[in-house]
Structures are given as structure tokens and as C-alpha cells.
Amino acid sequence: MPDYNTMEIMICVAARELEDGATVGVGTGAPCAAAMLAQKTHSPNLVIMFEAGGVSPLLPEMPISVGDSRTFYKAVMASSMCDIMETCNRGFVDYTFLGGAQIDMYGNLNSTMIGEDYKKPKVRFPGSGGANDFASFCWRTMVVTLQDARRFVAKVDFLTTPGWLTGGDSRVKSGLPPGTGPYKIITNMGIMDFEPHSKRMRVISINPGYSFKHIQDNCGFELLQAKIIEETRPPTEDELRILREEVDPYKYVIGR
């Protein structure tokens, strides 16, 4: 079994979720690496969109910003924020990858602030950026993050970006487009989805070298377990070679 680090397995697992011919709205870092890896392996027709306006670029290297010139290098279109977000809102974008400082059992994300008093935050984070928009409009939201009890919390200090809200049918009731919502959570220890009725986070696959206990111990709320829990396929030689040599040769992302 080849050697790999936590970032590498998360990127490889995320890439496998992107089928050929799908559309994905990505940011910088791991999500972009996953999309690039998917394109160079099983999904040559994956359509990558960047929120600032880049559509299907021939990425010469990892972008530093979702608006830098790499995101529309030899693109089929250099458009605008409204065009991309409204394309998502029309139902044209299948996947998006998001992150955050906190995530709860319904996949709600916080990237705004830590603390009790909004007016006087202990820590101020960037805010939604395009995350709330992508999570509202794209069909399937995925999160790539480290398994950590300070991240996976019972209650987010600020609900920046909608997951399944309070579970059940609360998301649709809120007015968000039906059929959208959190799809999979990919961490260094395993893969979670959401139980169809309660919409609570559920472990469906565990990474090599970890157990359900590891995941639960690094999660601030009770996790459900799927009837059959699979063992995550580790990165293949091919995936790692392409990731290391073609996708991120300067180790901007996998070097972390």
C-alpha cells in the first residue's frame, strides 16, 4: 500500500465523487486539487467553474485566488460573479466543495465568527464569501475537512452556510431549492453522508488505519452509522503520481 498524507487521501476520495460530465463550483486548495485530479483521471469532461467568472479553464497550475488569472486561463468563457452564481441558481451546477471553522450534525457551516456576542466576536472569520450561495444553489454540497472535535460541534456559533438546517424537511421549508443540500463530508478519518429522514450525519466509510471510535472521539456530536460501513479505498499509485506530479507539483496543497 503506497504511502500518503491526510491531505492526499482526502483529495483522492473527493476526486472520485466527481463523475465525468458533471459541473462543479470550486474554490482554491483541496477542492480545486480534487477537481483537477478528477479531470486527469476518470472525468476528462468535468466542467470546473469559479465563482468570479472562470468557466472550464485549462488550469496551468493551482490558482491562489478563485478570481486570479489562472481561473480563466484558456477558459471557454471569462464571465462574471452573477453569471456563475445564477448558472448555479438555474440548476446547472451539480457539485460544490466547501469548508468552514465549524460544522454541525446537519452539515451547517460556520465561517463567520467564534464567540457568543456577534457584535464582539472572539474570532472574526471571512464570512460567507460565495459559500452560502453555492450551498443554496448547487445540487450537492461536499465538505473536505480534518476530523476534529473543535470543528465538528453540536451547535455552530454562527450559521453562515445552510446544510440541512434543523434536519427533516426544514431545509425545503426554508425556501431553499428542493433537491439541494449537503451530500458528503470527507475527512482524514472517513466519509459521512446524511440519513435520509432525520438528515443527521452518518458514517458510511472509514479510512484505513481508523475505526468508528476514532471518528466519534473526534466529533462533538453523536454520529449515526450506516448499516454497511465500507473501508475507504486508499489512494492508488496512479492517483498519487498524478496528484503529486501534475496537479500540485509545488505542494501548495498536499504539502500542508
Binding site: 491562489i64 452573477c82 463567520t112 464582539k120 466576536p121 464570512g127 460565495g130 452556510t161 438546517l165 431553499l176
Partner: protein, 334 residues
């Protein structure tokens, strides 16, 4: 109209299209030269207390020269549109230029990390905040550009982002769906950096437009900084390529490398070493003060700032990087 839900955030601008119409009615439509230097333009059109919005996206085609001039002229008590504001944000935060803020994305520099001075300022309680999203602010400019008080949308629903915003939720009279209404945002002044403009303000942007088409229409006063002036004949040769028409523009300032140390598509890539220096030096208040003096306050203008950071040699290097020539150069070496 029954409002089902509304954010508790305050609107820092008036969404009334008729007040905006009254303003625009008086704005000159004459095609006359608006060329002036940046100092003059900022002095004339950017005032204490104004609502400011800048074009570009973080450190991409952002009017950094204008942001630094705003610091030099010591503007205070402004409101600011934090629409993926990164390096522009940390400059304005360092100068404590604003005390009211519409937030979509702030304090971070995307993959580069978080800005200590920006966080410190935001955690100081000195800034009144209203939460939005990137599309939320883009759509608010679009509403203003359309001349209507709001546009409906389907984002922000069910979140604290909505609760701390200035949006309202209503039921759609055609479909019965819950819709977020995003109020028009007319900034008092906008600054947009472009590739080319003629003396009247007809401007061209290459690559992604981001929000700048709508922003140019929403801004009551508009300053264009341009990499280069071109002739009106050249504008008229290809009217399809005009991104911003002259009648929206109040000032045209030729500022070569005006987005440095950010990226200007097809012109120069961002100076990542210098941006890392910015993040690094903020950790020490005294060092940061010296750094700001050296790079902003003690510089008469943007060209001196560039001279102090590598001058034309550095600009050529960044141009090579933008056009990926550095790879061809190294490949050729092998």
C-alpha cells in the same frame, strides 16, 4: 406586502431608486475629458463618511493604488463593500478608513491566510457590520444597476447570515415560494481598475468582469484607474469591447501597474513575496507601522511605491509570470 422574516442588519445606503434618479439626473452626460491624476480624483470624489466600493476581486484587478491614496489622504468614517475584499481590505483596515461594513468576504487573503490587522480591527468593535454573501452583494449592485429597489433571490434562507443581513423574506405572488429580497446598493463612490480607457471614460476590461459591470452603473460617482489611456477612435473601432460607457464616469486616472501587488490579467501576476511580507510584518505593531510608512505614507504616489519594491525589473518579472513566460524561460534553460 407581508414580510415573513427580515435581517436585523442596518442598510448603510438608501435603496430608493427615485433619490438615485434625482442624483443621476444632475450628472453630466457630456463627452468631455475627465483625465486627472489619482491624488486629485480621490480628493475630489472620495469624502469622509462616503460609502465606498472598489472593483476587482480581492487581489485581482483591484485598484490598490487608489486604496493606498485613500490612506494617504486620511479618509475616515467611511462605509465599505466587503465583497471578497482581501488585500484592499487589509490596506483600508490598516488605515481604519471605514466604520460601517457590508460583509461577504473579509479579513482573509484566500489561500494566503488571514490578515492579523484586519482581524484585530474587526474584533475591536469599532466597525458596524451587516452580513451578506458574494452573490448577495453582486445582486444588490445589480438591483441598483436595474434602477429598482431590490431583486429577489434564493440564497441566505434559513441562516444567521440572513438574520444579520438587511434582506427581507417574502412569498412570491406567482409561485408562493419564499424569496430573499436583496435591496439595491448605490455606493457614493466606486473605483474600478481597467485595462484601457479613453479620456472620456469609455473603458475596456479583459478577462472576468466579476461585479464591475453592475458596480459601474450602481456607483453615484465613479473613478476609473487604467493601465493605459487609448484613443476614442480605438474605442469606436470596436464598440463590442466597451465594458463601461463614458457617461457613468467622473474621473479617468492613468495608473500603470495600478493593481500591484495584486494580479492584472494579461498584464502582471501578483507579487506573492510582497503579499507574504504584508502578512508577516503585521504580527509586530511597530514593524507594521514602519512598513506602512515606507510603502504608503512616505510614498508620494504609486510609482514610488513600485520603485521601492523592485521597480520596472520586478514588473517585467511579474509580467513573465502572468504570461507563464517564466516557465518557457526555465524550460529553455534546461
Amino acid at each position: 406586502m407581508i414580510v415573513l422574516e427580515e435581517g436585523k442588519g442596518r442598510l448603510f445606503t438608501d435603496p430608493d431608486p427615485d433619490r438615485a434618479r434625482e442624483f443621476f439626473k444632475k450628472k453630466s452626460r457630456k463627452m468631455q475629458s475627465k483625465v486627472m491624476n489619482l491624488k486629485e480624483a480621490i480628493a475630489k470624489f472620495v469624502h469622509d463618511g462616503d460609502y465606498l466600493a472598489v472593483g476587482g476581486f480581492g487581489a485581482n484587478r483591484t485598484p490598490i493604488a487608489a486604496c493606498q491614496e485613500i490612506l494617504r489622504q486620511g479618509r475616515k468614517n467611511m462605509a465599505f463593500a466587503g465583497k471578497t475584499a482581501t488585500h484592499d481590505f487589509q490596506i483600508l483596515a490598516a488605515g481604519e478608513v471605514f466604520n460601517r461594513l457590508d460583509v461577504a468576504y473579509i479579513v482573509g487573503l484566500e489561500a494566503r491566510g488571514l490578515s492579523p490587522c484586519s482581524r484585530k480591527y474587526m474584533e475591536s468593535g469599532k466597525v458596524e457590520v451587516c452580513e451578506w454573501t458574494n452573490y448577495g452583494l453582486a445582486a444588490r449592485f445589480k438591483a441598483a444597476a436595474m434602477g429598482v429597489p431590490y431583486v429577489p433571490a434564493r440564497n441566505m434562507l434559513g441562516t444567521d447570515t440572513l438574520r444579520y443581513s438587511g434582506a427581507k423574506v417574502v412569498e412570491c405572488p406567482f409561485t408562493g415560494k419564499r424569496l430573499t429580497l436583496l435591496p439595491a446598493l448605490y455606493p457614493d463612490v466606486g473605483v474600478i481598475h481597467v485595462h484601457e480607457a479613453d479620456v472620456y471614460g469609455n473603458a475596456r476590461i479583459r478577462g472576468i468582469l466579476i461585479m464591475d459591470g453592475d458596480l459601474s452603473k450602481a456607483a453615484k460617482r465613479l473613478i476609473i484607474t487604467t493601465e493605459r489611456l487609448i484613443s476614442n477612435d480605438e474605442i469606436r473601432r470596436d464598440p463590442t469591447s466597451t465594458s463601461i460607457p463614458f457617461y457613468l464616469v467622473d474621473a479617468v486616472c492613468e495608473v500603470r501597474y495600478g493593481a500591484y501587488p495584486g494580479t492584472m490579467p494579461y498584464e502582471y501576476f501578483s507579487d506573492e513575496e510582497h503579499l507574504q511580507q504584508w502578512l508577516e510584518v503585521q504580527k509586530n505593531t511597530e514593524e507594521f507601522r514602519k512598513f506602512l510608512n515606507y510603502n504608503i505614507y512616505d510614498c508620494p504616489d504609486h510609482y514610488e511605491y513600485i520603485r521601492r519594491n523592485g521597480g520596472i525589473e520586478k514588473m517585467n518579472e511579474l509580467r513573465h509570470k502572468e504570461l507563464l513566460l517564466h516557465k518557457e524561460i526555465t524550460d529553455a534553460r534546461l
